[in-house]
């Protein structure tokens, strides 16, 4: 009966091991606090795990929001999307390529290290280095010199006029950071923002508490913010509905109704970033502007909004524009329309045969990318174009897009500046700009945009931008199709928060948390 005995022991050992492991886990499993009973702590369900903060590069919308609590730049956006002083108590444009900033007195980082003009200079020069891969590199690539006449004055000289420099400096990735963070791969948790890091439960949550070092600390109502990561959008919505969190970012479009139908929840949705189409202008048929125009008339934007955004978005017939910026002209939004007959006529004119086969690049990583392509595929079929879908994961999609390995491609845009200068990055073709159509030469458009940037007066500048947009209307270097609804949602105990409409919903709204209070 030897077998029997060893077998019995075995079972007991197994059970004991199992129980032991479970008990052991108690010490390891990360902690998640519930939203209630936390006083003036805001519990925020964040749409992505932000990992370690690194100074400079953009790592997506969720990281922007965290950056904006811990870090602060020379300037920031207010609730209307206007650039206002932050670490700089005042700023002035000496001319369109020279800016003077006067720093507040007594600025310090969370660890007490003082901030003076030299700190700012080192920070900005680090962002201007190519190998940093900074989000605002495009703006600082023309940096000529930073002068620090005294400890509180910073003079930024550019080699080219740039009317949007202030927008770039208000970017969430342009906070002034301590010298220790200015190295590749160095972590950047210590900043000059309204909150400081208290606990980092890696991969699960971040606990931030109010920083006494913040220059405007008396205006900060919250005791702290606890970010809990909820990458899955329906799980995020469920957490808000269940009361696990007070606020969430990036509400999934299919969850809008569910949140609106829940008492005591507020859905704060604004027209946000846009989706657009790219053309491979390096080869037939989209080397022909007529064929690109045909696509501009072939796509039913209402269907795109319905299919990709569950009806929560605005169709676009021209350039998306940021509200509140005076450099736009309403005509820029009216370039094309949905007109399949005109599309067919243009295709016939261009000599394109019926049943032409093309490849349509999208990504399976985001369902709205795939759904948008599916909706376009049906519209293209209606005008006689047979589009085959190519929907790889995100890195493969990016490589294919940058390498011109497509005919038509779906893309998304979230400009970080409010002015019309944002169009440049989308008009300039890949590989020079990763946002643009492959092989497109946009020198004419760029010339007009840059002319506009050099003009200080909005009225005169608008005329130059309009010329650029007219060329875009004719050449269709990229085709904006819809502006998606970008929503935050929160309980009605949250006061003073506002989702900034337009592009700034992504890059500016995080600045609202320091003005937020919770009952």
């Amino acid at each position: 009966m030897k077998t029997r005995i060893s077998c019995g022991m075995h079972r007991r050992t197994f059970l004991a091991t199992a129980m032991g492991l479970v008990t052991l886990m108690a010490g390891f499993v990360p902690q998640v606090a519930r939203a209630q009973d936390d006083g003036r702590m805001l519990t925020f369900g964040l749409s992505a795990n932000v990992g370690n903060l690194i100074y400079g590069p953009s790592r997506g919308a969720a990281q922007f929001i965290v950056n904006q609590q811990l870090h602060r730049g020379l300037v920031k956006f207010d609730e209307n999307g206007t650039v206002v002083p932050a670490l700089a108590e005042s700023f002035e444009a000496v001319d369109t390529s020279t800016y003077r900033f006067t720093l507040r007195k007594g600025l310090v980082f969370h660890d007490g290290t003082p901030i003076d003009s030299a700190t700012v200079k080192a920070s900005l020069e680090y962002l201007a280095r190519r190998e940093t891969g900074a989000a605002i590199y495009a703006a600082l690539s023309t940096l000529e010199a930073i002068e620090t006449p005294d400890a509180h004055t910073v003079l930024v000289r550019l080699s080219k006029p740039n009317a949007s420099l202030l927008d770039y400096l208000a970017d969430p990735n342009a906070g002034i950071s301590p010298p220790a963070a200015l190295a590749p791969g160095a972590v950047n948790w210590i900043g000059a923002g309204p909150f400081r890091l208290k606990a980092n439960d890696s991969g699960v949550s971040l606990t931030l508490v109010k920083a006494d070092t913040y220059y405007d600390k008396d205006a900060v109502a919250l005791d702290g913010v606890k970010f809990i990561f909820y990458p899955d959008s329906s799980a995020r919505a469920n957490a808000l509905i269940a009361g696990d969190v007070d606020m969430v970012d990036f509400v999934g479009w299919e969850d809008f109704e569910r949140i609106e139908a829940t008492p005591k929840l507020v859905l704060d949705a604004v027209p946000g970033p846009f989706v657009y189409t790219l053309f491979n202008t390096g080869r037939a048929p989209f080397d022909n502007p007529k064929v690109r125009q045909a696509i501009a008339y072939a796509i039913n934007r209402d269907n795109v909004v319905a299919a990709a955004f569950y009806g929560h978005g605005n169709p676009l017939n021209g350039m998306p524009m940021s509200p509140g910026n005076d450099r736009y002209d309403p005509a820029m939004g009216e370039l094309w329309s949905y007109d399949p007959d005109k599309a067919r006529a243009l295709l016939a004119e261009a000599g394109v045969a019926k049943g032409m086969k093309i490849s349509l690049l999208t990504s399976s990583t985001y369902s709205f990318f795939r759904d948008m392509a599916l909706s376009m595929q049906a519209d293209l079929k209606a005008v006689g174009i047979d589009a085959e879908l190519n929907a790889p994961d995100w890195p493969t999609y990016t490589s294919a897009k940058n390498g011109g390995n497509y005919d038509l491609a779906v893309a998304g845009g979230a400009p970080s500046v409010t002015g019309p200068v944002y169009m440049q990055a989308y008009a300039v073709g890949a590989p020079a700009s990763s946002f643009g159509s492959y092989g497109y030469d946009a020198s004419e458009i760029v010339a007009h945009i840059q002319a506009g940037e050099a003009i200080a007066g909005d009225e005169e500048a608008r005329a130059e931008y309009a010329k650029a947009v007219r060329i875009i209307g004719d050449q269709v270097p990229f085709l904006p199709l819809a502006q998606r609804s970008q929503a935050f949602a929160y309980t009605d105990r949250v006061k003073g928060f506002r989702n900034i409409p337009g592009f700034l919903s992504i890059t500016g709204t995080g600045y609202m948390i320091e003005k937020t209070s919770i009952r």
């Binding site: 329906s234 999934g252 299919e254 969850d255 109704e257 569910r258 209402d302 269907n303 319905a306 299919a307 569950y310 399976s364 990583t365 369902s367 795939r370 759904d371 392509a373 599916l374 909706s375 595929q377 049906a378 879908l389 190519n390 929907a391 790889p392 994961d393 493969t396």
Partner: protein, 268 residues
Amino acid sequence: MKRIILPLIAGILVAFAVAGPLLVPVDPLAQNILARFAPVGTPGHLLGTDNFGRDILARIATGAQVELLTALASTMIALSLGVSIGVTAAYSRGLTEDFLMRGIDVMLSIPPLILALLVVAVLGPSVPTLIGVLALLFTPGFARVAYGQTLSVRSRPFIQAAIIFGAPRRSIILGQILPNIVAPLLAQASLTIASAILVGSGLGYLGLGIRPPMPSWGGMVADGQRYLATHPMLMLIPGLFVVSAILTFSALGDTLRTLWDPREQGGR
């Protein structure tokens, strides 16, 4: 009798799905955004429509053909590959055996998920890719069954006799060993078809299945899940069909195995 009622219903559902397009010829890709989220029982759309207004029955039917085709094809490939490896290893012994069977162990210790993710990332999602991935995943299973069976058959007197009498290796393998291990392999094959549907639809659920807009059941469940709170049928209908197909083939496999192994029969 009771035991086969559920598998029978499942089988009928699967047959219904495959025959669906013959009964209701609707284009599974035709979109009608205005008619989206039509409920079950809508005239013209027996099972309703999805978020693009596409007919769910037509998509289930097309999906059925894809799921069953990939499952059958991948099982066939895995069966032939696995049997070749297993029989060769068991028959040759020595270094070849070690090399082949350790290779199988290495294959088994690569997480199936990462294998699928990488292969799909290299080749892009398509039916042949899916068949290849599934075949790769199930080959070790067949190899192990074939190996074990061959080892036990090989030690039997009649094979030993054939070896001693100097019968050619080929004729021993084809004439003596294969016929004696075919029954357990067939049972394994039928169970593998069920697993292939399970794993294949799982890959579809993760977006690693076939190229959209072609429908796959797993992909339909994943899409339906986004609307779980508002339109649960979009998830439940394809889910029901996945379950039915797996149940049908695993019941078939169990029956085959019972026929082959009378020991199990005794217990019933």
